[in-house]
C-alpha cells in the first residue's frame, strides 16, 4: 500500500479550521485565539524545519551528524524542563539536573533498544534512532519537569513541616520522604495512565501514524508496545535521577533545608 502524500494546499484547509477556531474564541471573548495562532505557526515552522533536517540526516546517515542532532535535542529538552518549573534551583542546577537525568535515561535506553532489540544496520540508522530518541526525550522531559516542579514547589510550601522533622532528628531523606514520593508519582502518572488506556481509550499517536503510513496493524502494535515500554523505562529512570539529585540539592552538607537555593516564583 502506498502512502497518500499530502499537498500543502490540503494542509492549508486544516489550517483554515484552526483559524476558524481562533476567530470563534475571539468573538466569544475567550482569549485563547492569539496563543493558539502563535502555537500553530510554531508547529508549522518547527516541523518544516525538522523535515528538512531529517531529509538531510537520512541522506547522510553518518554517526557524527546523528550524534550532533541528538545532543541538540537534549539541550533543547533541558531548557524546556527548566522553563516549566515554577521555582528553579539556582546556579544552573535546574538545567543541569534536568539535562543530566534525561541524558542518562533517554540516551541509555535508546541506545540499548537500538543495539539489542531492534538492531538496524548500522545501529545509529537515523530513520530508527532519531524518532525513537525524540519520543523518549519528549516523554522523559514531561516526567522530569513535572517531578522537579512538584518537588521544589511542595518543598517551598511545606518548609515548616520539613524543618520540624529535621528538628526532631530525622535525616534529610526522611524529612522530605513524603514529598519525594509525591514528586516521583506525579512524574510517572502520565506514563502509567497512557499504558493503562492504550488501545482502549486512545490509539497512541505513533501507532496511528504508522498505520496511516501503511504499516500492517500487527507490526504497528508491536512497535507501539516496544515504544511504550522504553518510554516508561526512560521516564522512570529519568524521574528517579531528577528527584534524587533535586532533593539532595535542597539540603546542604549539614542537612539543612536550603530554600535560598530556589528562585522566586516564575509564572
Amino acid at each position: 500500500m502506498n502512502v497518500i502524500d499530502l499537498a500543502w494546499w490540503q494542509l492549508g484547509l486544516a489550517a483554515l479550521m484552526v483559524v476558524a477556531l481562533a476567530a470563534c474564541t475571539y468573538l466569544t471573548h475567550l482569549e485563547v485565539g492569539k496563543s493558539l495562532l502563535i502555537a500553530a505557526t510554531r508547529t508549522v515552522l518547527q516541523l518544516a524545519l525538522i523535515g528538512f533536517i531529517l531529509e538531510a540526516l537520512f541522506a547522510a546517515s553518518r554517526l557524527h551528524w546523528v550524534a550532533l542532532m541528538a545532543i541538540a535535542m537534549l539541550l533543547i529538552a533541558g531548557r524546556e524542563v527548566m522553563a516549566r518549573q515554577k521555582r528553579r534551583l539556582l546556579g544552573g542546577w535546574a538545567f543541569g539536573i534536568g539535562t543530566l537525568s534525561m541524558f542518562l535515561s533517554s540516551f541509555t535506553v535508546t541506545v540499548l533498544t537500538l543495539t539489542v532489540i531492534i538492531g538496524p544496520e548500522p545501529w545509529y540508522t537515523p530513520q530508527y534512532a532519531i524518532p525513537l530518541l525524540g519520543m523518549m526525550l519528549g516523554n522523559t522531559m514531561n516526567g522530569v519537569s513535572l517531578s522537579l516542579d512538584r518537588l521544589t514547589d511542595t518543598a517551598w510550601r511545606q518548609r515548616a513541616v520539613i524543618e520540624n522533622r529535621l528538628m526532631l532528628g530525622q535525616r534529610w531523606q526522611e524529612a522530605i520522604g513524603d514529598i519525594r514520593r509525591e514528586a516521583m508519582r506525579s512524574g510517572m502518572i502520565p506514563t502509567i495512565n497512557a499504558m493503562a488506556a492504550a488501545g482502549v481509550v486512545s490509539l497512541p499517536g505513533m501507532m496511528t501514524g504508522q498505520i496511516l503510513a501503511g504499516s500492517p496493524p500487527a507490526v504497528a502494535v508491536k512497535y507501539q508496545i516496544l515504544v511504550m515500554f522504553t518510554i516508561t523505562v526512560g521516564t522512570g529512570f529519568g524521574t528517579l535521577a531528577a528527584v534524587t539529585a533535586g532533593s539532595r540539592r535542597l539540603f546542604d552538607e549539614r542537612e539543612r533545608l536550603r530554600l535560598d537555593r530556589l528562585s522566586g516564583p516564575v509564572s
Binding site: 528538628m167 532528628g169 539543612r256
Partner: protein, 201 residues
C-alpha cells in the same frame, strides 16, 4: 537517659547577633528575651544547626561540626513556636510517651490516637513538648513554649519542664516574653540588646 553535658556557644554570629558566647549547665534553664525581630528564634535555629552561622557550638566535648546534622539535632532539640504535624495521628510522630508525662500535661493514652486535624493550637504546643522529650534529647531549645496556653496550662507546663530539666540534667535555653514566667523558671536571664546578649540581674 541522663547527661552531664553543658551546652556552650562560642562567638556565635547569626543575622545581626554577633559573638554570642554563653554556657548553659546541665539542669540549668537560661531564659532569653528581646523585642520581636531581635533574632531570638534565629539564634535557636543556629544552635540547632538549621541555619548557616559563624562560631562554634558544643555539647560537652562534642562540637556541632563534628556530628552529622541529624545526630546533632537529635541531641540538641529545638521545639519551635509553631509545631507541625504531618502524619494522620498524634502517636505516629513520637517515640512512646509515658502515662505519667501525658497526665502531667493533661492528656491520656487515647490522645496518641487523636487525629492531628482536630488538635487546637494549645494542644499542639503541649504535645510538641512531649514529642520532643520522647526522643530523649540531651539539650532543649524552647521557642515560647507556652505562647498559646491559658494560665493553668502554662503553669502546668512550666512545672513539668522544670522538673524534667532537673531530673534529666538537661541544659535548657528558653525564649520567653512574660516576666512572671522568666522569674519562675529561669536560673539566668539574658536580654537581646542590639547585636549583643545582656544578662539581666
Amino acid at each position: 537517659m541522663t547527661t552531664t553535658d553543658a551546652l556552650r556557644l562560642d562567638k556565635v554570629s547569626i543575622g545581626h547577633l554577633e559573638d554570642v558566647t554563653l554556657a548553659v549547665a546541665p539542669g540549668e534553664i537560661v531564659c532569653l528575651s528581646g523585642p520581636s525581630g531581635s533574632g531570638k528564634s534565629r539564634l535557636l535555629r543556629a544552635i540547632a544547626d538549621l541555619e548557616p552561622h559563624d562560631g562554634d557550638i558544643w555539647l560537652g566535648d562534642r562540637a556541632q561540626s563534628q556530628l552529622p546534622g541529624h545526630e546533632w539535632r537529635g541531641l540538641v532539640m529545638l521545639v519551635p513556636a509553631e509545631s507541625q504535624w504531618w502524619a494522620p495521628s498524634v502517636g505516629e510522630h513520637a517515640r512512646p510517651i509515658s502515662q505519667e508525662d501525658l497526665a502531667a500535661l493533661g492528656f491520656d493514652r487515647e490522645t496518641l490516637d487523636w487525629q492531628v486535624g482536630r488538635l487546637s493550637s494549645g494542644e499542639k504546643q503541649r504535645l510538641a513538648l512531649l514529642r520532643a522529650l520522647s526522643f530523649s534529647p540531651c539539650a532543649l531549645l524552647l521557642d515560647e513554649p507556652t505562647a498559646n496556653l491559658d494560665d493553668t496550662a502554662t503553669q502546668r507546663c512550666e512545672s513539668w519542664l522544670l522538673e524534667r530539666a532537673r531530673q534529666l540534667s538537661l541544659p535548657v535555653l528558653w525564649v520567653a516574653h512574660d516576666s512572671r514566667q522568666i522569674e519562675h523558671v529561669a536560673n539566668r536571664h539574658y536580654r537581646i540588646e542590639g547585636s549583643r546578649l545582656k544578662e539581666v540581674r
